[in-house]
Amino acid sequence: MIVVEGLRRDFGRVTAVHDLSFSVADGEIFGLLGPNGAGKTTTVRMLAGLIRPTDGSATVNGHAIGSGSQRIRAFTGILTESPGLHDKLTARQNLEFYGRLYGMHGRRLHDAVQRYLGVVGMDEHADRRVGGFSKGMRQKVAIARALLHEPEVIYLDEPTSGLDPSAAKTVRDFVATLRELGRSIVVCTHNLDEAERLCDRIAIMNGTLLRVGTPAALRRHGRNATVRVELNGARGPEWFLEVLARLPWVLGAQPRDDRSLLVELSEPHVETPDLVAALVGAGARITGVREEAATLEEVYLRLVGEAGERDATGAAA
């Protein structure tokens, strides 16, 4: 489990990260989303025990960063932004080298290397030098390297960067299996679609935390879910407003146009079937029902844009 409280890191006069607080549970995939320079890599480096925070604190599986950094590094796996492999060594030699740096030897090392070369689909290329590999092949070896020592906490920076769709799916599926094994996983990505598909919760940051929540909660951006009901009958949307007003779990309703209604619900997954039943019972002919929500991209751009405007206003003041 990762617990971060008020983390700050300055590089000279530049503050890369400030007032950062969040937690990641065991078996949770947590996404860090943010523009370039948002402090994602700095955050991961602090949590992985590579650099010390200027202020604030964090614990990783009970070990404080700073004093417990060496212990943290032992049970942490990190996929860095750039694969950073040794070109003159083969894929197998690269993994064996890193396995030894994580204290693995003999049969355990051999078996782990073989297993993870298979997991990332690189067993056929195991004895080729990495210098001749494509970007995607390098990424696969780097992923194997991050997982080789069965880390309890895993940081993945752009894990599917450079991978073809099939390989990217394999990696996503594998990361999901790690969640089932109870590992805490932090994914840094610019790929909003990937974040939405992979992560249990997402933090949008730009120097500090802008918002954190499940992908669905972020899409709603703090508002109630809105369901759009398409109608095709003699009765227009206004006719049904009175029916909806009698339903206690309907938080609000209004015509969108002369053929559709917008209905606010708190739990659309649960309440939408009852909503449809109630409307049909009142004589509605429904041709479509779908949740009206902002895309994660819209939410992300709005939050990052607002943060940028605040910073600009603050600087001007």
């Binding site: 060496q70 990190i78 003159k88 890193y98 030894r100 740096l101 030897h105």
Partner: protein, 263 residues
Amino acid sequence: MRPGYVWAIFVKEWRDLISNRLLLGAVVLPAVIFAAIPTGLVAIIQANDLDASQLGQIEQYINDFPDVPAKLAAQGFIVTNFMAYFLLIPAMVPMAIATQSVIGEKLARSLEPQLATPMEVGELLAGKTLAAALPALVATWIVFVAYGLLNGAIADPRLTRFVFSDVWLTAMLTLVPLICLFSVLLGIVVSSRVNDPRTAQQIGGFVVIPIIALAVAQFFGGQATFSLQQVLVGDLVVAGLIGATLAIGSWAFDRESILSRLA
């Protein structure tokens, strides 16, 4: 310091070195060239008698060898005088390997994954230092032994004794390893601050200037080779420089500095 980590780094660096033909050439060629020039001169003198005027020109130098024939004294002077250049091998080669290693890894961004392991920075540096210093040390020793034996074989067995003198055995066993270590440490410190191997080697190249100056001063001073006292003073000076470089290196090559300076 855990030997397993140092050994893992050493093996990886060694694999890198033997797969890099250009760097391997940089290890072997200088040693061979420094040995081949005086050996060639000895062979020429062996094949051609020196006349009186030639002996007159080098009389000052051959006086260092009073109990041997003039021709052997001339060969002895050449063989021992050139040995100062053997100190250039441990000064140049380890630095080339170390700068290539550190800066190469910075550019390939392969330092960060290593620093993310439980390995300590000291263990990383120890492995890199061993891997950069040992090839130069072994190359120097091999060429030294071959040089002594070859010159004895092509001219006179007494040349072998001149080469394997107490002074040069002491220098090979103390001064050469110390220069290797200093060269590597300086290479690592410089490499941690810059991201271009050529710049690092140019800065580090200042190490060879005092050695060349010593060799030239020795020649023009008419001294065939160093004395034992000079070698021991050299040991002390280089050991002091190593201490200073280690002190600088401890803050120049810490985990945070390296990560914040990655290219």
